[in-house]
């Protein structure tokens, strides 16, 4: 097995992670530490490698170089079967929720427990109901995923990924494609889970409102590296034009126009 690391106190530690996809460098040396119990939000431009980074953290992708440590274990060289034990500790909510479309909501949520060997129907039903309670979807057990809205799918996906009470949950764009009201309820849900179960959370998003709402720390992924890592207040006070552009939702072109008008006025 992998040797013990000095990074034991961290839930997740990433060192020098690089990844190329179809000859394009997506990640160019990402270093990241996530302490236990913290909520870290990773922001960045679309196509900037946020989801790719997230998939590396559960071993769904293999890095070209660099290391990933989960609770002091190096998962980079693990086989698919060895990763099983690591994946029990980490839940992931996929961007499209990735529900099993041949199963009902109840079967989807119960799936991880069934796979872990739980056969008692009463226990399963009880646990599923409890989880659906947490994500505010009481009484939807018998529905099929096709008949759910985007927000409901994400909640079911979330229920499925937390039913085994993982120590850490990864969220891939939890609010993308949802209306502001549903987005807000998802943000609250993330917050509540962290408070109630003490889960470490990593949220990948480009929704700044969501980021400020849930984050203890925010990391900005830019051109395959962590460009900024700090608290929400630090980010808001940052004078770096790149960060400001992102927060204000301003394109470079717009910034140039603004700065030239400023110059003209002065």
């Amino acid at each position: 097995m992998s040797p013990e690391s000095p990074l034991n106190s961290e839930m997740i530690a990433v060192r020098g992670l690089t990844k190329k996809l179809a000859r394009q460098e997506i990640l160019r040396g990402v270093d990241l530490d996530v302490p236990k119990g913290e909520t870290l939000v990773i922001i960045g431009r679309s196509g900037g490698g946020k989801s790719v980074l997230l998939k590396h953290l559960v071993g769904l992708m293999q890095p070209d170089a660099g290391e990933i440590w989960i609770e002091g274990q190096n998962i980079t060289r693990m086989t698919e079967r060895q990763l099983g034990a690591i994946r029990q500790k980490i839940g992931i909510l996929f961007q499209g929720a990735a529900l099993f479309d041949s199963m009902t909501v109840e079967q989807n949520v119960a799936f991880p427990l069934r796979e872990a060997g739980e056969r008692n129907l009463k226990v399963l039903r009880e646990k599923v109901r409890e989880m659906l309670d947490v994500v505010e979807l009481e009484g939807q057990e018998k529905k099929m995923p096709v008949s759910l809205s985007g927000g409901m799918k994400k909640r079911v996906g979330l229920a499925r990924s937390i039913i085994r009470r993982p120590k850490c949950v990864l969220y891939d764009e939890p609010t993308s494609g949802l209306d502001p009201v549903v987005s807000d309820s998802i943000n609250r849900l993330i917050r509540r889970l962290q408070e109630r179960f003490g889960m470490t959370s990593i949220v990948v998003t480009h929704d700044m409102k969501s980021a400020f709402h849930v984050a203890d720390h925010i990391a900005y992924l830019h051109e395959g590296r962590i460009y900024f890592h700090g608290t929400s207040t630090e980010l808001q006070q940052a004078s770096d034009p790149l960060l400001q552009d992102f927060m204000l939702g301003r394109s470079e072109e717009q910034r140039e126009v603004e700065s030239s008008t400023l110059r003209d006025e002065s």
Binding site: V58, L60, P112, E115
Partner: protein
């Protein structure tokens, strides 16, 4: 010229890489069959899907092939006064070649397409990643039940195809072509040996394995989008049909050493 060699080399390499991937998938699956617990529910569902629901297609294929083969054989043989040998020819041909090959082609079209489409869709909608993230090995969950189900279903389907082929041939011969039933039966039983049947069923087993791994591999490696799944499905059917036809030749040559044709 260099470009030609580049292209040729690339194609050959890609082909061997493809073969390697399929073989690795097969190795992984068999390892999983012997070392991990079987999911009975999924296995039984696949038996229904692959075995039970393929019966109609296979029966129709077998019956009409048997009928037409009996008729054609009779037209030729009757000219030299050997009409009553029709039964023997039909039954041996169906047992050794027509039954297994035609059944395999039908199953490749029906079941192979379904497998690659289903697994391919799961792949592109991240359901396979979800399985992995929930600590379930996709091979255990998706490929093993299908492999075991097809290994059991294929010989049974081929047996059914052979039975209906022979029966249909018999009815055509007796009632339509008016061959003497007693001679027909006697010749058929005399020239059809148990090793002909064993050969057919062995082929069925091998073809089943070819179909399941080629189709599951195509599904597991499907590319993004509806186009990706569509292409994976087409390629699964084409590749497994070709593999069945090509492999059939070599299998016939090898099996003929163990189960030689004819009466000795």
């Amino acid at each position: 010229m260099t470009r030609l060699f580049n292209w040729l080399g690339g194609t050959v390499l890609a082909f061997f890489q493809y073969l390697g991937e399929v073989v690795l998938l097969a190795a992984d699956t068999f390892r999983s069959i012997f070392t991990h617990k079987l999911r009975w529910k999924l296995f039984l569902r696949q038996i229904v899907e692959i075995g039970l629901l393929s019966q109609l297609v296979v029966v129709i294929t077998g019956a009409f092939t048997g009928a037409v083969f009996a008729a054609q054989t009779f037209f030729q043989f009757n000219k030299i006064g050997m009409g009553s040998a029709t039964g023997a020819v039909v039954s041996v041909a169906i047992c050794r070649e027509l039954g297994p090959v035609l059944t395999a082609l039908m199953v490749a079209g029906r079941v192979g397409a379904a497998m690659s489409a289903e697994i391919g869709t799961m792949k592109v909608t991240e359901q396979i990643d979800a399985l992995r993230a929930l600590a379930v090995y996709p091979i255990d969950y998706l490929v093993v039940p299908r492999t075991l189900a097809i290994m059991i279903s294929m010989p049974l389907l081929v047996a059914e195809c052979i039975a209906f082929g022979i029966a249909a041939g018999y009815f055509i011969a007796i009632f339509l072509l008016e061959i003497n039933g007693t001679y027909y039966m006697a010749n058929m039983v005399r020239w059809t040996l148990s090793r002909d049947i064993i050969m057919g069923l062995s082929k069925a087993f091998c073809f089943g394995i070819l179909i399941v791994f080629i189709s599951c591999h195509k599904g597991l490696t499907a590319r993004e989008g509806a186009v990706g799944v569509g292409r994976a499905t087409t390629e699964a059917v084409v590749n497994s049909s070709l593999a069945v036809l090509i492999f059939n030749f070599f299998l016939t040559m090898c099996l003929n050493i163990i189960y030689p044709a004819g009466y000795q």
